[in-house]
Amino acid sequence: MRRASTLVVLSAAFCLAIAGTFIFAYRAGRHAHLLRWENEPIRPWMSVPFIAHTHHVPANVLYSAIGLEPRPHDRRPLRAIARERDRPVGELIRNLEQALASAGHVHPAPESPGGRSP
Protein backbone atom coordinates (compact mmCIF):
# COMPACT_ATOMS: atom_id res chain seq x y z
CA MET A 1 0.00 0.00 0.00
CA ARG A 2 2.81 2.37 1.00
CA ARG A 3 4.77 1.37 -2.09
CA ALA A 4 1.75 2.13 -4.33
CA SER A 5 1.35 5.64 -2.89
CA THR A 6 5.12 6.25 -3.33
CA LEU A 7 4.75 5.17 -6.97
CA VAL A 8 1.85 7.63 -7.51
CA VAL A 9 3.75 10.54 -5.90
CA LEU A 10 6.95 9.80 -7.84
CA SER A 11 5.02 9.46 -11.13
CA ALA A 12 3.25 12.81 -10.56
CA ALA A 13 6.57 14.51 -9.72
CA PHE A 14 8.16 12.93 -12.80
CA CYS A 15 5.36 14.29 -15.06
CA LEU A 16 5.74 17.74 -13.48
CA ALA A 17 9.51 17.72 -14.03
CA ILE A 18 9.06 16.66 -17.69
CA ALA A 19 6.46 19.43 -18.17
CA GLY A 20 8.84 21.94 -16.53
CA THR A 21 11.67 20.89 -18.85
CA PHE A 22 9.54 21.50 -21.94
CA ILE A 23 8.07 24.79 -20.69
CA PHE A 24 11.47 26.29 -19.81
CA ALA A 25 13.05 24.96 -23.00
CA TYR A 26 10.24 26.54 -25.05
CA ARG A 27 10.69 29.88 -23.24
CA ALA A 28 14.47 29.70 -23.80
CA GLY A 29 13.83 29.14 -27.52
CA ARG A 30 11.51 32.14 -27.64
CA HIS A 31 14.11 34.36 -26.00
CA ALA A 32 16.76 33.03 -28.39
CA HIS A 33 14.56 34.29 -31.23
CA LEU A 34 14.07 37.70 -29.52
CA LEU A 35 17.84 37.95 -28.99
CA ARG A 36 18.22 38.59 -32.71
CA TRP A 37 15.44 41.13 -33.10
CA GLU A 38 14.75 42.99 -29.89
CA ASN A 39 16.48 46.22 -28.81
CA GLU A 40 17.41 46.56 -25.15
CA PRO A 41 15.03 48.64 -23.02
CA ILE A 42 16.63 51.52 -21.08
CA ARG A 43 16.89 50.88 -17.34
CA PRO A 44 17.88 53.26 -14.48
CA TRP A 45 21.01 51.17 -13.68
CA MET A 46 22.51 51.76 -17.14
CA SER A 47 25.14 54.43 -17.77
CA VAL A 48 24.94 56.70 -20.84
CA PRO A 49 27.93 54.98 -22.57
CA PHE A 50 26.28 51.58 -21.85
CA ILE A 51 23.03 52.71 -23.55
CA ALA A 52 25.02 54.16 -26.45
CA HIS A 53 26.81 50.82 -26.85
CA THR A 54 23.64 48.70 -26.76
CA HIS A 55 21.87 50.95 -29.31
CA HIS A 56 24.91 51.61 -31.51
CA VAL A 57 24.72 55.42 -31.33
CA PRO A 58 27.47 57.89 -30.36
CA ALA A 59 27.37 58.70 -26.63
CA ASN A 60 27.45 62.45 -27.26
CA VAL A 61 24.03 62.22 -29.00
CA LEU A 62 22.56 60.82 -25.79
CA TYR A 63 24.42 63.24 -23.51
CA SER A 64 23.06 66.20 -25.45
CA ALA A 65 19.52 64.69 -25.27
CA ILE A 66 19.63 64.96 -21.47
CA GLY A 67 21.49 68.28 -21.45
CA LEU A 68 24.88 67.06 -20.23
CA GLU A 69 28.43 67.51 -21.45
CA PRO A 70 30.08 64.20 -22.48
CA ARG A 71 32.52 62.91 -19.83
CA PRO A 72 35.35 60.44 -20.45
CA HIS A 73 35.05 57.15 -18.49
CA ASP A 74 31.60 58.10 -17.19
CA ARG A 75 30.14 55.09 -15.36
CA ARG A 76 27.36 56.86 -13.46
CA PRO A 77 24.01 55.05 -13.74
CA LEU A 78 21.02 57.10 -14.93
CA ARG A 79 19.61 56.94 -11.40
CA ALA A 80 22.72 58.75 -10.05
CA ILE A 81 22.60 61.36 -12.84
CA ALA A 82 18.91 61.99 -12.08
CA ARG A 83 19.72 62.46 -8.39
CA GLU A 84 22.60 64.85 -9.16
CA ARG A 85 20.44 66.89 -11.56
CA ASP A 86 17.36 66.69 -9.30
CA ARG A 87 15.25 65.28 -12.13
CA PRO A 88 13.00 62.20 -12.22
CA VAL A 89 14.81 59.23 -13.78
CA GLY A 90 11.70 58.48 -15.91
CA GLU A 91 12.10 61.88 -17.57
CA LEU A 92 15.75 61.15 -18.46
CA ILE A 93 14.71 57.77 -19.92
CA ARG A 94 11.98 59.44 -22.04
CA ASN A 95 14.49 62.01 -23.35
CA LEU A 96 16.92 59.22 -24.27
CA GLU A 97 14.17 57.19 -25.96
CA GLN A 98 13.22 60.23 -28.04
CA ALA A 99 16.86 60.76 -29.02
CA LEU A 100 17.14 57.10 -30.04
CA ALA A 101 13.88 57.29 -32.01
CA SER A 102 15.09 60.38 -33.90
CA ALA A 103 18.42 58.62 -34.54
CA GLY A 104 16.41 55.84 -36.24
CA HIS A 105 16.26 53.30 -33.39
CA VAL A 106 12.80 51.92 -32.66
CA HIS A 107 12.39 51.19 -28.96
CA PRO A 108 10.86 47.83 -27.97
CA ALA A 109 7.68 47.26 -25.97
CA PRO A 110 8.29 47.83 -22.22
CA GLU A 111 7.48 44.22 -21.20
CA SER A 112 9.37 41.29 -22.70
CA PRO A 113 7.73 37.87 -22.35
CA GLY A 114 9.08 35.36 -19.85
CA GLY A 115 10.70 35.33 -16.44
CA ARG A 116 13.75 36.70 -14.74
CA SER A 117 16.88 35.34 -13.13
CA PRO A 118 16.73 32.21 -11.07
Partner: protein, 200 residues
Protein backbone atom coordinates in the same frame (compact mmCIF):
# COMPACT_ATOMS: atom_id res chain seq x y z
CA UNK B 1 17.74 44.93 -5.27
CA UNK B 2 18.54 43.79 -8.83
CA UNK B 3 18.64 47.40 -10.09
CA UNK B 4 20.91 48.52 -7.22
CA UNK B 5 23.34 45.65 -7.80
CA UNK B 6 23.53 46.38 -11.52
CA UNK B 7 24.04 50.10 -10.87
CA UNK B 8 26.85 49.29 -8.41
CA UNK B 9 28.46 46.88 -10.91
CA UNK B 10 28.24 49.45 -13.67
CA UNK B 11 29.84 52.09 -11.44
CA UNK B 12 32.43 50.15 -9.38
CA UNK B 13 33.10 47.03 -11.48
CA UNK B 14 35.03 43.98 -10.28
CA UNK B 15 34.88 44.50 -6.44
CA UNK B 16 31.07 44.42 -6.69
CA UNK B 17 31.25 41.34 -8.91
CA UNK B 18 33.47 39.59 -6.34
CA UNK B 19 31.12 40.45 -3.45
CA UNK B 20 27.91 39.44 -5.23
CA UNK B 21 29.24 36.10 -6.50
CA UNK B 22 30.57 35.28 -2.99
CA UNK B 23 27.27 36.07 -1.24
CA UNK B 24 25.24 34.24 -3.91
CA UNK B 25 27.45 31.13 -3.57
CA UNK B 26 26.63 31.05 0.16
CA UNK B 27 22.96 30.77 -0.77
CA UNK B 28 21.35 34.20 -1.18
CA UNK B 29 19.19 34.35 -4.33
CA UNK B 30 21.03 37.10 -6.23
CA UNK B 31 20.93 37.55 -10.04
CA UNK B 32 24.46 36.28 -10.68
CA UNK B 33 23.87 35.21 -14.29
CA UNK B 34 22.64 38.69 -15.17
CA UNK B 35 25.64 40.29 -13.44
CA UNK B 36 28.03 38.03 -15.34
CA UNK B 37 26.54 38.82 -18.76
CA UNK B 38 26.45 42.56 -17.95
CA UNK B 39 30.11 42.21 -16.94
CA UNK B 40 30.74 40.66 -20.36
CA UNK B 41 29.17 43.72 -21.95
CA UNK B 42 31.37 46.00 -19.80
CA UNK B 43 34.39 43.97 -20.98
CA UNK B 44 33.31 44.52 -24.61
CA UNK B 45 33.06 48.26 -23.90
CA UNK B 46 36.59 48.31 -22.45
CA UNK B 47 35.42 49.20 -18.92
CA UNK B 48 36.81 46.03 -17.24
CA UNK B 49 39.69 43.87 -18.57
CA UNK B 50 38.56 40.32 -19.42
CA UNK B 51 41.02 38.55 -17.10
CA UNK B 52 40.08 40.80 -14.16
CA UNK B 53 36.37 40.04 -14.70
CA UNK B 54 36.96 36.26 -14.85
CA UNK B 55 39.29 36.34 -11.82
CA UNK B 56 36.87 38.44 -9.70
CA UNK B 57 33.82 36.31 -10.55
CA UNK B 58 35.65 32.99 -10.01
CA UNK B 59 37.39 34.08 -6.79
CA UNK B 60 34.15 35.42 -5.30
CA UNK B 61 32.17 32.29 -6.12
CA UNK B 62 34.94 29.94 -4.89
CA UNK B 63 35.19 31.86 -1.58
CA UNK B 64 31.41 31.65 -1.04
CA UNK B 65 31.42 27.94 -1.88
CA UNK B 66 34.07 27.30 0.79
CA UNK B 67 31.90 29.01 3.40
CA UNK B 68 28.93 26.80 2.39
CA UNK B 69 31.13 23.69 2.61
CA UNK B 70 32.51 24.67 6.06
CA UNK B 71 29.00 25.38 7.41
CA UNK B 72 27.85 21.97 6.13
CA UNK B 73 30.88 20.14 7.49
CA UNK B 74 30.84 21.52 11.02
CA UNK B 75 27.32 22.86 11.54
CA UNK B 76 25.50 20.28 9.42
CA UNK B 77 27.21 17.23 10.90
CA UNK B 78 26.22 18.28 14.43
CA UNK B 79 22.60 18.85 13.32
CA UNK B 80 22.47 15.49 11.54
CA UNK B 81 23.82 13.67 14.59
CA UNK B 82 20.99 15.18 16.62
CA UNK B 83 18.18 14.44 14.15
CA UNK B 84 19.46 11.20 12.59
CA UNK B 85 16.54 9.26 14.08
CA UNK B 86 13.96 11.44 12.33
CA UNK B 87 15.88 11.14 9.04
CA UNK B 88 15.73 7.34 8.88
CA UNK B 89 18.46 6.30 11.28
CA UNK B 90 22.25 6.18 11.17
CA UNK B 91 22.25 3.44 8.50
CA UNK B 92 20.32 5.53 5.99
CA UNK B 93 22.48 8.57 6.68
CA UNK B 94 25.66 6.55 6.15
CA UNK B 95 24.26 5.30 2.80
CA UNK B 96 23.41 8.90 1.77
CA UNK B 97 26.94 10.03 2.71
CA UNK B 98 28.50 7.21 0.68
CA UNK B 99 26.33 8.19 -2.29
CA UNK B 100 27.37 11.86 -1.96
CA UNK B 101 31.07 10.86 -1.82
CA UNK B 102 30.73 8.70 -4.91
CA UNK B 103 28.91 11.32 -7.02
CA UNK B 104 30.24 14.41 -5.24
CA UNK B 105 32.81 15.51 -7.85
CA UNK B 106 30.55 15.66 -10.94
CA UNK B 107 27.76 17.07 -8.74
CA UNK B 108 30.00 19.96 -7.63
CA UNK B 109 31.33 20.55 -11.17
CA UNK B 110 28.00 20.64 -13.03
CA UNK B 111 26.20 22.80 -10.43
CA UNK B 112 28.88 25.50 -10.81
CA UNK B 113 27.99 26.36 -14.40
CA UNK B 114 25.04 24.28 -15.69
CA UNK B 115 22.47 23.59 -12.94
CA UNK B 116 23.52 26.70 -10.96
CA UNK B 117 20.41 27.03 -8.71
CA UNK B 118 21.49 23.79 -6.96
CA UNK B 119 25.04 25.03 -6.24
CA UNK B 120 24.64 26.27 -2.65
CA UNK B 121 22.72 23.10 -1.64
CA UNK B 122 25.54 20.95 -3.06
CA UNK B 123 28.10 22.98 -1.06
CA UNK B 124 26.24 22.24 2.15
CA UNK B 125 25.60 18.58 1.32
CA UNK B 126 29.27 18.06 0.34
CA UNK B 127 30.30 19.40 3.75
CA UNK B 128 27.70 17.28 5.56
CA UNK B 129 28.81 14.14 3.66
CA UNK B 130 32.45 14.99 4.53
CA UNK B 131 33.41 14.87 0.86
CA UNK B 132 37.23 15.36 0.84
CA UNK B 133 37.95 19.09 0.84
CA UNK B 134 40.85 18.92 -1.64
CA UNK B 135 38.61 17.19 -4.21
CA UNK B 136 35.80 19.65 -3.49
CA UNK B 137 38.16 22.59 -4.14
CA UNK B 138 39.47 21.00 -7.35
CA UNK B 139 35.99 20.42 -8.87
CA UNK B 140 34.81 23.77 -7.51
CA UNK B 141 37.67 25.77 -9.11
CA UNK B 142 37.23 23.94 -12.45
CA UNK B 143 33.47 24.52 -12.49
CA UNK B 144 33.48 28.12 -11.29
CA UNK B 145 36.21 29.25 -13.71
CA UNK B 146 34.39 27.50 -16.58
CA UNK B 147 31.09 29.14 -15.53
CA UNK B 148 32.66 32.61 -15.32
CA UNK B 149 34.34 32.17 -18.72
CA UNK B 150 31.12 30.94 -20.40
CA UNK B 151 28.77 33.64 -19.05
CA UNK B 152 31.22 36.54 -19.36
CA UNK B 153 32.19 35.58 -22.91
CA UNK B 154 28.50 35.21 -23.88
CA UNK B 155 27.90 38.69 -22.46
CA UNK B 156 30.88 39.95 -24.42
CA UNK B 157 29.61 38.43 -27.70
CA UNK B 158 26.01 39.64 -27.16
CA UNK B 159 27.12 42.84 -25.44
CA UNK B 160 24.22 44.85 -26.92
CA UNK B 161 21.56 42.28 -25.88
CA UNK B 162 22.35 41.48 -22.25
CA UNK B 163 18.78 41.55 -20.87
CA UNK B 164 17.42 39.26 -23.59
CA UNK B 165 20.47 37.00 -23.16
CA UNK B 166 19.84 36.81 -19.42
CA UNK B 167 16.20 35.75 -20.00
CA UNK B 168 17.40 33.08 -22.40
CA UNK B 169 20.06 31.76 -20.00
CA UNK B 170 17.71 31.80 -16.99
CA UNK B 171 15.12 29.69 -18.80
CA UNK B 172 17.82 27.37 -20.15
CA UNK B 173 19.23 26.86 -16.62
CA UNK B 174 15.79 26.01 -15.19
CA UNK B 175 15.17 23.63 -18.10
CA UNK B 176 18.43 21.85 -17.18
CA UNK B 177 17.42 21.68 -13.49
CA UNK B 178 13.98 20.26 -14.41
CA UNK B 179 15.63 17.75 -16.74
CA UNK B 180 18.05 16.59 -14.02
CA UNK B 181 15.13 16.20 -11.58
CA UNK B 182 13.14 14.26 -14.24
CA UNK B 183 16.12 11.94 -14.86
CA UNK B 184 16.57 11.31 -11.15
CA UNK B 185 12.84 10.62 -10.64
CA UNK B 186 12.78 8.38 -13.71
CA UNK B 187 15.69 6.39 -12.31
CA UNK B 188 13.91 6.06 -8.93
CA UNK B 189 10.67 4.96 -10.66
CA UNK B 190 12.56 2.38 -12.71
CA UNK B 191 14.13 0.94 -9.54
CA UNK B 192 10.76 0.84 -7.78
CA UNK B 193 9.06 -0.94 -10.69
CA UNK B 194 11.82 -3.54 -10.90
CA UNK B 195 11.64 -4.24 -7.18
CA UNK B 196 7.80 -4.63 -7.26
CA UNK B 197 7.77 -6.95 -10.32
CA UNK B 198 6.55 -10.43 -9.24
CA UNK B 199 9.11 -13.24 -9.41
CA UNK B 200 8.51 -15.83 -12.19
Amino acid sequence: MREQLLAALSQYGSPVLFGVTAVAAIGLPLPVTLLLVVTGSLVAQGVIPLWVAIAAASAGAISGDQIGYIVGRWGGTALLARFSGALGGAGKLAAAEAHARRWGGPGVFFTRWLATPLGSVINLSSGIAEYPWIRFVLWDVLGEVLGAVIYILLGRVFSDRVLALNDLLSNFTWAMVALLVALWLGWKLWGLRRSTRPLP
